[in-house]
């Protein structure tokens, strides 16, 4: 349940991590898990419960005048999500530097995210390198389904948490070591509310809506559809058997987010997946192009500096 750090307070577990126990200066003992590639940078000391002396000169006002309160206001002016956003920004920078294309898949439970991922991977795995992060409260069932396709996958269990955050994904990257110019897929916890607010550093959020849910879901849970750039309308092979108006669902989604790119797909029959897969390929191509442009620009800069040095 920890917003920015899976280590301290929450029940987050990253697969393959090992638990260890600390004894603090004040005698407090606690146990928590770390992934193996993780270099602990956080502090383990606790504030003592009671300090020994009463020294009024060290109070926040750094002086004591009898009768005058020691309390004072301190401006903070910081966004509540600023720590998460800083982790997400670092993740995005790492993705960009290495030409990786990262997608964050979000939906309610049962929309077919994992099946869709498995099918997408099967269509793409011979053409590009893929790694997957799976977020769920419990079990590593989903990561095992992904691994069965032959692609590396890492399960993050959020425990009581309802979403993945930027810090968890940073750890997952360190563990998975995604290849340069590869595809990085994050399947968020099945939840149409909370993951909307937590940037993971991905390039696009992809919302999945299945035709067995209501047409008005984008209106009921607008934040998620507003945060997404792409919507996949899944299980479209069932449309003949349902009283579901796919056009109305799309119109509702566009009312919340006019810029939404929508694909109608069926993960089980494979219908419509080719358009989605080529959208992914062009996204990765753009990341590669951006990276080689950066590399080329740096090389030009080095050549220019070397030339200037030679002149001197």
């Amino acid at each position: 349940m920890c917003t920015v750090c899976g280590c301290g307070e929450g029940e987050t577990r990253i697969e393959g991590g090992h638990e260890h126990t600390h004894v603090h200066a004040d005698g407090t003992v606690h146990t928590h898990a770390h992934g193996h590639g993780y270099k602990p940078a956080h502090r383990h000391d606790h504030e003592p419960a009671v300090s020994g002396d009463l020294d009024y000169g060290t109070g926040p006002a750094r002086a004591h005048v009898p009768g005058m309160s020691q309390s004072r206001m301190v401006q903070i002016e910081q966004d509540i999500l600023s720590k998460n956003n800083a982790y997400a920004t670092a993740n995005r920078r790492a993705f960009d530097e290495r030409g990786i294309f990262a997608l964050n898949l979000v939906s309610s439970p049962g929309s077919g995210k994992t099946t869709l991922l498995v099918k997408t991977i099967e269509l793409l795995k011979d053409k590009l390198t893929i790694s997957v992060v799976e977020g769920d409260q419990q079990t590593s069932n989903d990561a095992e389904r992904i691994r069965a396709t032959g692609v590396p996958a890492l399960q993050i269990n959020t425990g009581k948490g309802c979403h993945l955050d930027g810090h968890m994904v940073g750890h997952a990257m360190a563990r998975l070591q995604p290849a340069d110019e590869s595809l990085f897929l994050i399947e968020n916890v099945g939840n149409l509310v909370c993951p909307a607010a937590f940037d993971l550093g991905e390039h696009h959020k992809v919302a999945i809506l299945s035709v067995t849910e209501g047409e008005d879901k984008p209106l009921k849970y607008p934040d998620m559809f507003a945060a997404a750039d792409v919507m996949l309308l899944n299980k479209c092979d069932l449309l003949p058997y349902l009283e579901y108006d796919a056009d109305e669902a799309e119109a509702n989604a566009r009312r919340v987010n006019p810029n939404l790119t929508i694909f109608r797909v069926s993960a089980s029959s494979g219908d419509g997946l080719s358009a989605w897969v080529s959208w992914i390929q062009s996204g990765l191509e753009a990341q590669r192009a951006k990276r080689s442009e950066t590399v080329a620009a740096l090389k030009r800069r080095v050549t220019e500096l070397e030339r200037q040095l030679a002149v001197k």
Binding site: M1, P60, V74, I76, C194, D223
Partner: protein
């Protein structure tokens, strides 16, 4: 939504500041929450009391300053008040309205001693 995580985010910012200022106690935490942000002030207050228990901010009062929502209506070509994130323009009824204010979720200041 996720008010518990947000309350923990608030507590972290408060604890960082209190530690830096060598405070012994936090008396008051002032937040700015936009009307159009996805935060329910009542739920946040409830969670704040739960997460601050046993911390330096235990028993601190929580003050939530609600920042009114505002949006730019393309049809009216002006800023209009907005009650909900995905609503129509209250003047002309157009859907072409983009939220421009009232999305804040900030810790503004704290009172320490």
């Amino acid at each position: 939504m996720h008010e518990m995580s947000l309350a923990e985010g608030v507590l972290q910012l408060v604890e960082d500041t209190a530690r830096r200022e060598k405070a012994s106690r936090v008396r008051l935490v002032v937040l700015e929450i936009g009307q159009l942000s996805a935060v329910e002030p009542a739920a946040l207050k409830f969670c704040f009391d739960a997460v601050t228990e046993g911390s330096i901010a235990q028993g601190a009062a929580l003050e939530i300053v609600v920042v009114p929502g505002a949006g730019w209506c393309m049809a009216c070509a002006e800023t209009v008040p907005m009650q909900e994130r995905y609503s129509v323009c209250p003047r002309c009824g157009s859907h072409q309205i983009e939220a421009t204010g009232g999305m804040e979720m900030r810790v503004k200041e704290i009172e320490i001693e």
